[in-house]
Symmetry: C2
Subunit: 123 residues, 2 copies
């Protein structure tokens, strides 16, 4: 997939509502909880952050194994979970598979969790 | 706890960094993955959204059992998980326990997941 440098969309407004505004319905909660489950493992969370922060916005699987003290098959499993949760996209190019984060999915979660304004002084 | 209506702090800037800016360290990933694990259950996610969206920013446990087809002890267990993950605060007042979301925690997760700008056209 070629990377497009187009104007940034207002993804947050387009995709979702903060939970401070209205309670989640059952279907949304089921879908979103699956995405959060993918983030509930520390290795997966670090993998996602490595992909998200990688130069150019995508990372080769060859960039993602070094920092971890787990086997290559374990890394591959975690990447599959992230992909199946809709948090990353991937594409094989030659020898390697490349991964990038899917911003609409991340923004949906980010917007959902925006904190309430009127209780912002509570910690 | 009395509710304070003070100016909103720039919580996002104060608490955390988007994962698009830098990869997570091991300690942060471990802590954050525990918070995401608390969000990985659909009933807990709906409970959190009911608390977050409740009038006045807090909800009595008596407001939180009606919408669910699960037992009161199960609701209490889920609320305990949310509290132990640092996502909600609670206080007993007379007969009932009241819950409110902890905005610094929510904002930390929300900011972490802010989507990358340069890949915003990817879905």
């Amino acid at each position: 997939m070629s990377k497009q440098e187009l104007p940034v969309l207002d993804l947050a407004a387009a995709c979702c509502t903060p939970m401070t505004r209205e309670p989640l319905g059952e279907a949304d909660a089921a879908e979103l909880s699956r995405m959060f489950k993918a983030l509930s493992d520390p290795v997966r969370l670090r993998l996602l952050s490595l992909i998200a922060s990688h130069e150019g916005g995508e990372a080769c699987v060859c960039d993602l194994t070094g920092p971890f003290d787990v086997s290559q098959p374990t890394i591959s499993h975690h990447l599959k979970v992230l992909r199946e949760a809709g948090l990353v996209g991937s594409e094989r190019r030659g020898t390697w598979v490349y991964y990038w984060v899917l911003p609409v999915a991340l923004n949906r979660l980010s917007t959902l969790l925006q904190a309430p304004v009127s209780t912002a002084t509570r910690t």
